[in-house]
Symmetry: C2
Subunit: 412 residues, 2 copies
């Protein structure tokens, strides 16, 4: 099947989503079956608005530089496709531009979108192939061993926690407790990953608060006191999704922008809540840090393993689509054996869209404030190696597309 392809990115940016895009673009450009290689600006929004730009007109060095450019160079969005009409609009754009291949890099909402467009195309008899490329720092996609983006966020967060740990160790006579907030609305994957920083009992993090373990003020207080009594300091990683026993978040935001486009509650403030709690209840000075979105785009200390796997998933999606595959997401499959090796597999888009991978209960430490060695064995290989961005004037150099827009069809 000959035709054009479109690649799009969706949802929260990561350090390596552009490495996936690079894999898609470079493979598509060298595939004889694919004629034009287009990007939809800002994901599905750009697709619906017919904002397509031609990646064949971008400099190869810019495309290669995506491997060390964070966030989402094609532009992203949080738009949730809701109506049959929206899907028809998208299919119409595909028809007008002879787009026969769709590569969507994102999380489960994106896999749902790709799945539904694909099914509509099938129903309408439009010859078309849709492939999903996994992306999320949250590591909660089903049917894949792990998700591109996760290795980099935990490498960077663990490093921040190590450094903050040494800060608190140096200055415990003044700032005794330090609280660092990790992203993760529903699952503790990111907070758990900071445990990689701990090589000895003295090392941070001393306490990890996971969304999976209801916050128990008295037990928590006793645990902090234990560290104050033994090492005179305590570094706490709190997941933004940490909940009270009644299921409510410990620090829920209110106001006009309290919910995002999908109706998810916007969090933030878990760290300041814990800081205030510690100061009030334990009478020691505490500080807090909220790295927020900074944690997810830290390409300056991202995992090379993660970046390579992100590229691989993108590249594989194109290879398999050209070979006839459709309606699938490329997954990462850990090979058996002591040495880490990772290949790819496939999962139905609909299975990924409707699934989720909770943080395994068996990997939560007996005290509820730590993780097990099995988790460490799972996570360690994902953070190996460092991405080295190009440097210019002492700072990284990132790429930006020129965006030569493809001529629009007659108004839809």
């Amino acid at each position: 099947m000959k035709g054009n392809c479109v690649v799009a990115q969706s949802g929260g940016p990561t350090a390596v989503i552009n490495a996936s895009a690079c894999g898609v673009i470079q493979e598509a450009l060298r595939s004889p079956g694919i004629t034009g290689v287009y990007a939809a600006h800002n994901g599905i929004l750009g697709l619906m608005r017919e904002e397509l730009f031609d990646l064949g007109e971008e400099a190869p060095s810019v495309i290669e530089g995506l491997r060390t450019t964070p966030a989402a160079a094609l532009g992203s969005c949080r738009y949730k496709v809701k109506t049959e009409e929206d899907y028809r609009t998208i299919l119409e754009v595909f028809r007008k531009h002879d787009i026969r291949y769709f590569f969507y890099i994102g999380g489960n909402d994106s896999m749902d979108t790709a799945d539904k467009v694909n099914k509509l195309a099938l129903k309408e008899g439009y010859e078309f192939r849709a492939m999903g490329v996994p992306k999320t720092i949250d590591n909660d996609l089903a049917h894949t061993d792990h998700c591109p983006g996760y290795g980099s966020v935990i490498k960077y967060m663990a490093t921040m926690v190590m450094e903050a740990g040494r800060d608190t160790e140096a200055l415990y006579t003044a700032d005794t407790v330090n609280v660092i907030e990790a992203m993760g609305r529903n699952a503790g994957w990111i907070a758990a990953g900071t445990a990689l920083a701990k090589r000895s009992e003295e090392d941070a993090p001393h306490i990890i608060l996971l969304p999976e373990v209801p916050f128990d003020p008295e037990r928590f207080k006793a645990r902090v006191r234990h560290y104050l009594d033994t090492i005179e300091r305590c570094v706490i990683v709190v997941s933004e999704g940490t909940k009270n026993p009644d299921g409510g978040y410990i620090a829920e935001q209110t106001g006009d922008f309290a919910k995002d486009a999908f109706g998810h509650t916007q969090l933030g403030g878990a760290a300041s809540y814990i800081k205030a709690f510690v100061e009030a209840e334990l009478k020691v000075k505490a500080r807090f840090a909220i790295p927020s979105t900074i944690q997810r785009t830290g390409i300056h200390f991202a995992s090379q393993t993660d970046s390579d796997e992100a590229y691989l998933t993108g590249q594989t999606a194109v290879r398999l689509a050209v070979a006839g595959e459709s309606g699938k997401m490329v997954t990462l499959v850990r090979e058996p054996g002591a040495a880490y090796a990772c290949g790819t597999g496939l999962a139905d888009l609909s299975a990924v869209a409707n699934g989720e991978k909770p943080f395994p209960e068996a990997w939560i430490g007996a005290d509820g404030y730590s993780v097990t060695e099995d988790f460490i064995d799972y996570a360690r290989p994902l953070i190996m190696g460092e991405v080295e961005p190009e440097m210019e004037g002492g700072l990284p150099r990132f790429m930006r597309f020129e965006r030569h827009y493809v001529k629009r069809g007659p108004t839809l």
Copy 2:
């Protein structure tokens, strides 16, 4: 003059204060005039408590590894020496342990302490030499071109702002404004340094709020709107010390721990204030990040130039003390000429203690939200090169002393 020396660290940790300690320790260990090389655990507190450990018993590889270990490996404190009695206690410890050289790495409070101990020793006829080694991320010490610690904090913060800028650029259809809080209680040096991230009009930071420029809600609103109208997004760096026209901080903390040991107001919350302001006044969604102490200990992306200069100041303090110098702080002196070169000079401890270096008004941009090219020319050379920490299991490896304590004298 033969005798023992003691080295101590004080105040807020930095990425390179241990590089300064490394310079002091390695030079002291090879100086024939210096017999024992001791550290005071937790700065002046350890000195008063006679908690001295012998650096000669530490592994040379650990001492060398200080160059890539952040925070303050000797331990730090925020204790303000207040009474004549405190100074007499310190001098008593010096006498008991035949300490003839004192190297104090810190900011202006530390220079004041070193100066007063030195003057008391002189008065009492105790042969003694005290030398200061500059350290502060705030870059506000007088009589030095810049301060070790500053280059690293702005390199890291500028990188975070670049990455957050790409995050906002990718997702502006959902998260339109991003606010990042920079340290800096009184001066805008750190916030200003993030301007290094900006290579084009599109690049973050779009607005910098400096403590030197009173916050004007209407002008600020218009400036944000300008970016929303032109590039549909806005990344704002707000200094924690940003003030209202009446001189009060825009986000002052209250409660039990609102002031530190020196009576300085503890800040934090400037970013959440600006985020809430933008959402209420401009009706767009904003996010915020508070890197807090994380920004000051980011050795994983610190400036090699800064690290080298930190080492140089420590090493020079020892060389000059052995040669007879006392009562001085080693300064950094930028050599004239187009290519950056930096040597050392000396300033009286008392002059540094009582001085401060405000952010020059001439370097604030005409709009009040930016900095001039002259500032960029000043700051750029300070961030060149990257420190590369040793790695182990995908994360940096930091050093920790064994701390063999020197036998205490009879109770003081």
